[in-house]
Amino acid sequence: MIIFFRRAVQDILRNKILNVITVITIALSIIIIGSFAIFIINTNDILDSWKQCARIMVYLRPDISKNEIPGIKQKIIGIYGVKSARFIAKDEALSLLRNKMKRQAAILDNLRKNPLPDAFEIEMTPSCTDKRKIESIVTMIESLPFVDDLEYGQKWIGQFADIMRLFRLAGFAVGGLFFIASVFIVANTMRLVLYSRREEVEIMRLVGATERFIKIPFFIEGIIQGILGGITGVVVLYIAFVFISSNLSQGILTGFLSLRFFHFKVLCSIILCSMFVGWLGCFLSFINFKKI
């Protein structure tokens, strides 16, 4: 195996241009698919964080007494899709408002009576944050007798989620197509590289080399090219990511956006994938190679 490895490294060094072309092709494929994946991951993250903010405010009728509150809470929690319900008494609501208004809070001092109603702040389970489920929860709560009014400010999240779902599906489809196209481009590049070395393969066969002896160094070369292409792609992608994310966070989206790069495990998978693509390129090339 050491001999094969040595031969593979030697061949890479002696066929620099061809090998550089293959490495660049693999790296470019990773950059294209990777940037697409990073975009999808981050838009998903943003959507998820917005979804978690989706809350329903249920305002109670003024005639509801404090004794009825625990029973009402149980009824709300009993609805499918409701994760928690926090009671906000009207006094607490007023003091929250006062805190929010800060300097303008003096206006509230002139009030003779607290105009705010008692309310429940309802948080939904993560599985119930799409438009239809939110609407069905709202309908159920609205039908309860103690409810005076109801508010869910993030109605648009449901619609946005639909668009995102479509976008994600399209993302997977386009990403998948990119991946398949990349595999074929890399395989084809490797085939051309191998084609340019067909005479070498032919000579080796003529001097009595076995298929194993001929092919193993080519496969090792393919795997090394895959690793180098993978690492190059990931490094370029990371540099671009750092550059773009730092520009975005210093710009108009300050504080609103925290973008993330691939997890270490994903990075390892990308490099493993590139190794596989390198191997596959070699494998596909040899399938079409004439057996002398």
Partner: protein, 229 residues
């Protein structure tokens, strides 16, 4: 002895035909090549000399007939056993067929590596063969930087380094000047005396006369005469 002949054949061809579409390249070839013999395969260009050599190492397969090499019937050999068959041969090609991206040493060593020889013995053996062909001082050069005669000597070294039973030389002196041709032929004689059977395809009459070995003539695909000069 260059004319030495044992009664045992190492190569036998029975009613061998080779077609390329409708064109017949070889027609009803019957030939025995004996162990440790030197055989010249002569004839004009396009007579079928190279084709006949290719049939022996399965560079091409016969259209009809049987070829037996060292007891192996080539029409029954499996794909996996072809490399082992080819290692019985040392082949010198008309166009040298050296790998451009490998050094002289690596080109010659390739045969031993392919045969799974240990690297220590390999280096010793390759150096010794390169010394014999006079290329030891150019062992680290790449083929494109060598002259035609030098490339042919490397090709000879590669052909003999694995101690093959049969050496096939296809126009080994075709593109060489008379001095280089003499050197290459002397090398072939030297390896013949070590026990190899040598088949030389050539139309170089001077070389054939000089050797004084059995000659078979090919013309338009027919094997015409068997002559001892």
């Amino acid at each position: 002895m260059i004319n030495g002949r044992s009664e045992m054949s190492i190569i036998r061809m029975f009613h061998v035909y080779r077609y390329y579409g409708k064109k017949k390249a070889l027609i009803d070839i019957n030939l025995d090549v004996y162990k440790n013999e030197v055989l010249f395969l002569s004839g004009p260009s396009g007579a079928g000399k190279t084709t006949l050599l290719k049939l022996l190492y399965l560079g091409e397969s016969v259209s009809e007939g049987q070829v037996i090499v060292d007891g192996i019937n080539l029409s029954r050999i499996s794909f996996k056993r072809i490399p082992a068959l080819r290692r019985k041969f040392g082949i010198i090609f008309q166009d040298y067929k050296l790998i451009r991206t490998k050094t002289v040493f690596e080109n010659v060593a390739l045969v031993l590596e392919a045969a799974g020889r240990k690297s220590r013995l390999l280096e010793k053996k390759v150096n010794s063969v390169l010394r014999i062909v006079g290329m030891e001082d150019k062992r680290d050069l790449f083929p494109p930087s060598l002259s035609g005669g030098e490339q042919q000597r490397v090709a000879v070294a590669r052909a003999v380094v694995g101690d093959p039973k049969i050496i096939l030389a296809d126009e080994p002196t075709g593109s060489l000047d008379s001095e280089s041709a003499g050197i290459v032929f002397d090398l072939l004689k030297r390896f013949h005396t070590r026990g190899a059977t040598v088949i030389i395809a050539t139309h170089d009459k001077h070389l054939i006369t000089q050797a004084g070995a059995r000659v078979v003539y090919l013309n338009n695909g027919y094997l015409q005469t068997h002559t001892n000069i």
